[in-house]
């Protein structure tokens, strides 16, 4: 999610597991408090939770922040476009970087 409050932008990423989806969709509704949380098993309980990590604030009047926001958005667009017909303009750059990374790995 990208949220903007006046002149500040917030990016939040929601992470969850299959266990959380089961909590939502199980035909026999589960207890709000998972047994592992009662048992103080935090690591196991984390799998049953929705974790929302926020990165912020990107201030739109601050050059470094706006450039960084553009970098995040452009990266997401590159990821999607590079495999599509609409990605013909960026694909050569992507492939060049990808091949150079392969060479450096090799």
């Amino acid at each position: 999610m990208i949220a903007q409050d006046a002149d500040e932008v917030f990016i939040s990423i929601g992470s969850y597991t299959e266990a959380y989806l089961k909590y939502l969709f199980n035909p026999a509704p589960a207890a709000v408090l998972p047994p592992v949380a009662v048992a103080d098993d935090v690591a196991a309980a984390a799998a049953h939770m929705l974790r929302i990590q926020e990165f912020s604030p990107f201030k739109i009047s601050t050059r470094d922040h706006l450039r960084l926001l553009a970098h995040v958005i452009l990266s997401l667009l590159v990821k999607e476009l590079v495999t599509l017909r609409a990605g013909t303009m960026i694909r050569p750059v992507w492939l060049e970087i990808d091949s150079s990374e392969d060479e450096s790995d090799g």
């Binding site: 999610m1 990208i2 949220a3 903007q4 409050d5 006046a6 002149d7 500040e8 990423i13 969850y16 597991t17 299959e18 989806l21 089961k22 909590y23 939502l24 969709f25 199980n26 035909p27 509704p29 589960a30 207890a31 408090l33 009662v38 935090v42 309980a45 939770m49 929705l50 974790r51 929302i52 990590q53 926020e54 990165f55 912020s56 604030p57 739109i60 009047s61 601050t62 050059r63 470094d64 706006l66 450039r67 970098h71 995040v72 958005i73 452009l74 990266s75 997401l76 667009l77 590159v78 990821k79 999607e80 590079v82 609409a86 303009m89 960026i90 750059v93 992507w94 970087i97 990808d98």
Partner: protein, 430 residues
């Protein structure tokens, strides 16, 4: 379910309650969340009680806060504390903006090549992205070192698709406070934000409000409209256009929504899972409160975000009749529930997003990234804003999972929910 009236009860004015009312904090850890669950007496409740707030909770809330709780359905913008806690969400501490890209790579949402390619394009000024620097020269406080602002040519010459952002930035930074004052003085809601257009060529010109498809997009829930649709021309195909997406659907007589991809082989769509075909249950869903539409100042905010993202997207793709991945400002209502295994379809809530980016090949009705706009800085409202966003995350996850399940053609009679095929069995994200 009726709302409990009472003198001064905020429950009678659901749209005037803040999200997370009665909530003292947003839990950062599982320990904090567990403590809050126990404090609110939710240990023995289940997800099916998401809309239920009994007398005990009313009593408790009066004791521990100045708020009074009511019963009944809600929307994300006025989610009660108990319902917020029921979706099991934690917000670890906020991270700095510099950590966003590495985190997206770590989470698997991006690969290194994507970020390097974007860096190369941005810092090389390729494909007209140098105009972003020109924009920052005008609206940012930090000046570009040793580079004077260019004054030759028009604003559009210098900034290209970013040109309108100068005006929007001016509105946001300089005029927004006075706009907000004016709005408070005149009316809390001057007018509604724009809604997604219907494709009139496909027979949608009878008004967006009466189309089952628009109910899918916006989930506008006039019961009378819905009944009229159900008895109408079920074979008539309606279409809605959305940037990057174009979907044609056939309404089903037994469900509010249905499409060709939902057919599980026996002629019955899976969408009955989402919207119960029992009339009483359907009525309960239809009675869910709609989130409040955004106001004019919020529209200015979302306009900035959409223009900024759309400008980048249009710079990096060739001319085409249907550009993809272009951000839009369509308000979209997402629905969480009804919760499986319950007798009441009213165990659900709705959340409204302010727009989004439809990524991918455009087959999905849902954007890959959703927007939320607020006209004011968070300040003391952080608990309320995060509570609302939590419910939007949850509703988005619900809708995504439902969509994946339909696409995977999982049987609606499956005794246990099967995870969508495109979701990793380890950690998933969107």
């Amino acid at each position: 379910m009726k709302q409990a009236p009472g003198p001064g009860s905020l429950g009678s004015l659901p749209n005037q309650r803040k999200a997370g009312y009665g909530l003292q904090r947003i839990p950062k850890t599982i320990y904090e969340w567990r403590d809050d669950v126990e404090r609110y007496g939710l240990s023995n409740r289940t997800l099916s009680n998401i809309c239920l707030q009994g007398a005990l909770l009313v009593y408790r809330s009066v004791l521990f806060s100045n708020y009074r709780l009511s019963t009944g359905p809600f929307s994300a913008s006025n989610v009660p504390a108990t319902s917020f806690l029921t979706v099991r969400a934690v917000w670890p501490g906020r991270k700095p903006v510099e950590a966003a890209l590495p985190a997206l790579v770590t989470e698997g949402a991006l690969c290194e090549t994507d970020t390097k390619c974007a860096y190369h394009l941005l810092h090389g000024g390729a494909l007209g992205l140098d105009k972003l620097e020109a924009l920052m020269d005008l609206i940012c406080t930090q000046a570009r070192p040793s580079t004077p602002v260019r004054t030759i040519g028009s604003l559009a010459d210098q900034l290209g698709p970013f040109a309108q952002l100068v005006s929007l930035h001016n509105l946001l930074v300089r005029r927004l406070p006075s706009l907000q004052q004016q709005q408070r003085k005149d009316s809390p809601r001057l007018f509604d934000a724009p809604r997604a257009p219907m494709d009139r060529r496909q027979g949608g010109d009878e008004g967006a409000r009466t189309s089952p498809l628009v109910d899918l997009v916006h989930r506008r829930t006039d019961r009378a409209d819905r009944r009229a649709d159900g008895k109408g021309d079920n074979e008539k195909k309606l279409a809605v256009t959305h940037p990057g997406r174009n979907l044609t659907m056939t309404p089903s007589p037994t469900s509010l929504v249905s499409d060709s991809t939902c057919d599980n082989g026996d002629g019955q769509g899976n969408s009955e899972l989402l919207i119960a075909d029992n009339d009483d249950d359907g009525a309960a869903v239809a009675d869910l409160p709609l989130p409040t539409p955004r106001n004019p100042t919020e529209t200015v905010v979302v306009d900035f975000l959409v223009t900024f993202i759309a400008a980048i997207a249009t710079l990096i793709q060739p001319p085409t009749r249907i550009p993809v991945c272009v951000a839009d400002a369509f308000e979209q209502t997402l629905q969480f529930g009804p919760v499986p295994g319950t007798n009441k379809a009213a165990e659900a809530f709705r959340a409204s997003t302010d727009g989004g980016i439809p990524l991918g090949s455009g087959k999905s009705m849902l954007p890959a990234i959703i927007f939320e706009a607020k006209s004011a800085k968070r300040g003391d409202n952080e608990v309320s804003v995060r509570a609302q966003q939590t419910m939007e995350h949850a509703a988005f996850i619900w809708e995504k999972a439902e969509e994946s399940r339909k696409n995977a053609k999982v049987s609606s009679t499956s005794p246990l929910f099967l995870p969508p095929v495109n979701i990793s069995l380890s950690r998933v994200r969107y």
